[in-house]
């Protein structure tokens, strides 16, 4: 009897802690590729303790035949653009809660990263997700890339 009660209590604790404790959602994928450029993006949302972490990045890589997207490909300043947005769910639609605006590489590099820590769920207790939109400029074709969605996660107020 004692064993059953203990196991049930442990299960209850696991369920409760799973709902309230640290949790990270991360997505990453290739948002663009042609014969010599790949644009890789990622977006994450993490909740742990009193801090909420929303972040995104974009990386330019080369495109190698038979290998695929490989090797960072540095870009001139302002040729990589990234935007991180925090969305929250409201009844039947996603609502923009926080927007980083555009962040660019200000020196020659292959990657731009942006992260924001919040002390609380700034738009109330809701489901939240991070959208990372990353683009790389090409002389022919202009801005190339796209968005990555972290998936969503409940954040208490």
């Amino acid at each position: 009897m004692k064993r059953i009660v203990l196991m049930t209590s442990a299960a209850a604790l696991l369920i409760a802690s799973g709902a309230a404790y640290a949790h990270t959602l991360l997505s990453y994928g290739t948002t663009f590729q042609d014969s010599d450029l790949c644009v890789l993006g990622s977006a994450h949302i993490q909740h742990g303790g009193a801090v909420i972490d929303s972040g995104a990045d974009v990386t330019a890589t080369g495109q190698i035949r038979y290998v695929g997207c490989s090797g960072e490909k540095a870009q001139d300043p302002y040729w990589i653009a990234l935007r991180r947005q925090l969305y929250r769910w409201e009844t039947n639609a996603w609502v923009v809660c926080n927007d980083s605006g555009w962040v660019y590489n200000t020196s020659r590099s292959a990657r731009v990263f942006h992260q924001r820590m919040f002390q609380s769920a700034i738009c109330g207790a809701r489901y939240y997700g991070t959208m990372g939109s990353g683009f790389v400029f090409q002389n022919v074709g202009g801005w190339s890339g796209g968005g990555v969605w972290s998936d969503y996660h409940w954040l208490p107020a």
């Binding site: 009897m1 059953i4 290739t30 948002t31 609502v95 923009v96 489901y127 959208m131 969605w149 972290s150």
Partner: protein
């Protein structure tokens, strides 16, 4: 018999708590049709426009009583300027929080403007 009754009661309580939890949360229904399996976005399938939250976390309603909406191209699309144009007028505070607010004219809800959070006309929630 007492043992089964106790386990049954505990399980019923857990299921009940889970049901209350599920009902009180306004949860998105499954995966989004505009998000591919790897998490990348298909902008052509995204909603045409999104509402935005004000400092209180609620949707922003403009002076004409209509909810502010921002077109998806402004949120999910690429920058409007080329690198040369950006270099010529580098943004003052890149990466600082920005907020969408109602614009001017007859349809302020369809004419959103992006302003630094520090200059938010509706106030600052940090």
């Amino acid at each position: 018999m007492k043992r089964y009754l106790t386990v049954g009661l505990v399980l019923a309580a857990l299921i009940g708590a889970g049901a209350v939890f599920a009902v009180t949360r306004d949860e998105p229904s499954g995966s989004l049709p505009w998000v591919r399996a790897d998490g990348t976005i298909d902008i052509s399938k995204a909603p045409e426009e999104f509402a935005v939250a004000g400092p209180d976390g609620k949707e922003v309603v403009c002076a004409n009583g209509r909810t502010l909406k921002v077109r998806k191209e402004l949120l999910l699309g690429p920058p409007a300027k080329t690198p040369d144009e950006l270099r010529a007028q580098a943004p003052a505070s890149p990466g600082r929080d920005l907020v969408w607010r109602c614009g001017h004219g007859r349809d302020p809800h369809l004419n959103p403007v992006l302003v630094p959070r520090s200059q938010d006309p509706l106030g600052d929630d940090g």
